[in-house]
Symmetry: C2
Subunit: 447 residues, 2 copies
């Protein structure tokens, strides 16, 4: 072990915690990962997961420690959306250019594999051990059966809080003066549902598509799993006319699925069963700052920046945190105060940007997808982008298929939006949307 | 006792907690007030207080329970600002119309009196008793020496959290799903300082003025006390060129006061002593929602909506919460679920509005008071308002001298700002600022 080797605690054995442990072990540190939950490899999954969409930033971070190929075996590439619009035949929307795709992975399947890989690197996992308190200046953690039981004290050189949106480590930082913090829930909840495989193990829907049933204030999505099943997520308001609050019996659930999702009728028994078996979960945007405590403690992933899932970037953003952290560790060696300072300064604007983009996608999906003007705008953008791919990279592509900073994607997206606002105000835009006049106006505005 | 009489716990014996206990006792309930601190009547004040500026909303709330006159004995009316601008002789700015004033009261002096008045109404105070946990559905509170010590359980019908910006009661509500919360600190801190009375007990500065020494990124204010002293507050950035971070010795403090506040030189020994004796405090805007838990628990005052002090409305807003709550209790009698629902729905937009106005005043004070364009705009507004007092009520007057909703003051203020933006863009506005042309433009815009 080198003289710079540290004794490090990671709180949380989720995706970010386990990937970070791999990185830190490879750097020569000794990592212990604490988790209040049992080993996910020994239990059933929670029934509250949305399938993951691994994209560029995620793969880049896995590749850096040589586990990209290993993880790709668990993933299915989706190169398009499959749109199930009521009253229309299903149609496809390509995500990006040839060869660009997002990859569907079951959270549970990936988490299990990541823990295997981390253990293979020498990380030690302590499951079922609940962290209740953290001494920030001394990098000590306290675990025990309950908040009021006898506690065990552990002393480390560094602590990383990878314990998610409701992080206990952050909770402790939050009590300090001048710690900025916000949590904002949206009024829509979600529930995991399943469409099982065909009897022969094949997928019931096109397996290389991200399936969406947009229904205005609510929607259903489905992402494929390796075993032929689809993990579906129903996004639905908590309260209101069509809402979780108003679906309380099997009969009401069946009416709901039959009315709004006729082409999943064949699986209605299963969907209804899942509807009452699985919990309804809330979605939150959580922001905070600072993310670090001197050279002792740092938050990584959701514990620092939980976002709503409508851009599929939660895990990707967390993995990119680790990628950036690793670069800084290599640059500054043992100077953890500088590493942590630069880490939070670099990542905070990007975390805020992807939070904003994710929230906007939620608004877009719930209120704009039925607006003909919005759809026309998107059509014009696509038309132009196809003709001038270098001049107009859609925000979605910047976020998903590049690793340019999220904050840049947001800023350029805002510029594009401003240009399109003027374009949409051109007289008779509906008729001349694909005209040279419109094209030239965009070109001029881009200068 | 009537059949509707409730056994009520209030957490926090500050201004809001003690006034609420008076209201509730008068309504026939039995109130116990818990406070983790000792009885403020038995100890010295904290040295971290900004003097209070009681204005219309505060007085209205005291009058409703007949203690306005009693409290007025502790207060000094301030009908103007006394501006101490470097390089200029001191000058006055009237606050409002004839007879309009804000009232300076020492927080400690007021708090002591309020507890006396509350005890006289029959409220029971339990000082030095720390609340660590709250059972929301059962309205139970748990107190003890420390978080991990043996706890005592108390059962009530209702609990009110009046325990300030870092409320323990809210802390418990915050752990529930779908609880929105934010805390944002500003980069400026404050410190309490004192200018003592003259030897004969008289005030060293005009006693009916709110004294301000604006200095761009920082400022000093002074408010009179009955004993001839002034409680001063120094607002100064935590970091940066001129900042708390950079004043670490008596010598540096003396240079600071001599350089920037030459007309308080006579008190430099005292200011310097206070500077190192008193703590530097942070300022936070705290928002949350919901404010209530069914018919069991409600947050009142800073625990629901802490704001930065630059509008002097923190206490006034908290007292107005109580005034509104009282109206709703009288209207809905024993229906606490309806009372709490209407209370939070009515007060939340107003709390958000005064938070925004207070934050804007901070920005205005720190960055705009030296901007000639901003000063010209204020001059035009004042000129117009004097001529058309019914058509242009300044936001400050709506907030301070009326009880129309804060949210209305904010909305009308935004309208006025929009009008003035156009006015300021008129050519040669510097020359014709008091012309009929400008006047007519405003009149037209107001239609």
């Amino acid at each position: 072990m080198s003289e710079n080797s540290k004794n490090i605690a990671i709180v949380g054995s989720g995706l970010v915690g386990s990937l970070l442990s791999i990185y830190l072990q490879k750097l020569g540190h000794s990592v212990t990962v604490f988790d209040r939950r049992p080993d996910i490899r020994t239990i059933e999954f929670s029934g509250r997961s949305i399938n993951l969409a691994m994209s560029n930033r995620g793969w880049k971070s896995l590749k850096e420690v040589g586990i990209e190929e290993e993880v790709k075996k668990l993933a299915i590439p989706l190169d398009k959306r499959a749109m199930h619009v009521n009253g229309k035949p299903m149609y496809f929307q390509k995500y990006g250019k040839e060869g660009e795709a997002i990859w569907s992975i079951s959270r549970g399947v990936l988490n299990r594999r990541m823990i295997d890989l981390a253990e293979a690197e020498g990380a030690v996992f302590r499951f079922n051990e609940k962290v209740w308190d953290v001494n920030l200046p001394d990098a000590k953690i306290y675990t025990g059966e309950s908040e009021k039981s006898e506690w065990k004290e552990y002393k480390y050189d560094l602590i990383f809080g990878c314990d998610g949106a409701f992080s206990r480590v952050r909770h402790k930082m939050q009590r300090r003066s001048r710690f900025n913090y916000s949590q904002n829930f949206i009024n829509v909840g979600y529930k995991e549902l399943t469409i099982p495989a065909n009897d022969d193990g094949s997928h019931k829907l096109d397996k290389n598509s991200f399936h969406i049933w947009p229904r205005g204030s609510f929607m259903l999505i489905a992402m494929p799993n390796l075993d032929g099943s689809f993990t579906c997520t129903l996004f639905l308001p908590f309260e209101g006319e069509v809402s979780f609050e108003n679906i309380t019996s099997e009969k009401e659930a069946k009416v709901f699925f039959t009315t709004y999702f006729p082409n999943v009728m064949q699986d209605i028994e299963n969907l209804t069963k899942d509807f009452f078996k699985n919990p309804t979960s809330a979605m939150v945007t959580m922001k905070c700052y600072p993310w670090t405590y001197w050279d002792k403690v740092a938050l990584v992933g959701d514990s620092a920046h939980a976002i709503v899932p409508f851009y599929g970037q939660g895990m990707n953003a967390g993995f990119e945190d680790i990628y950036v952290l690793n670069r800084l560790i290599k640059k500054h060696k043992d100077k953890w105060d500088i590493i942590f300072k630069e880490y939070q300064e670099q990542r905070k604007p990007n975390a805020d940007a992807i939070a904003e983009l994710s929230y906007r996608n939620f608004i877009e999906m719930s209120s704009k997808t039925a607006d003909p003007k919005f759809l026309l705008q998107k059509k014009i953008e696509k038309h132009f982008s196809k003709k001038y791919p270098e001049k107009w990279i859609p925000v979605y592509s910047r976020v998903t298929f590049s690793d340019s900073p999220y904050s840049e994607a947001l800023a350029i997206g805002d510029e594009q939006e401003k240009i399109m606002k003027d374009i949409m105000e051109m007289s008779e835009i509906e008729k001349k949307w694909d005209s040279l006049e419109v094209e030239n106006s965009i070109l001029k505005a881009l200068k």
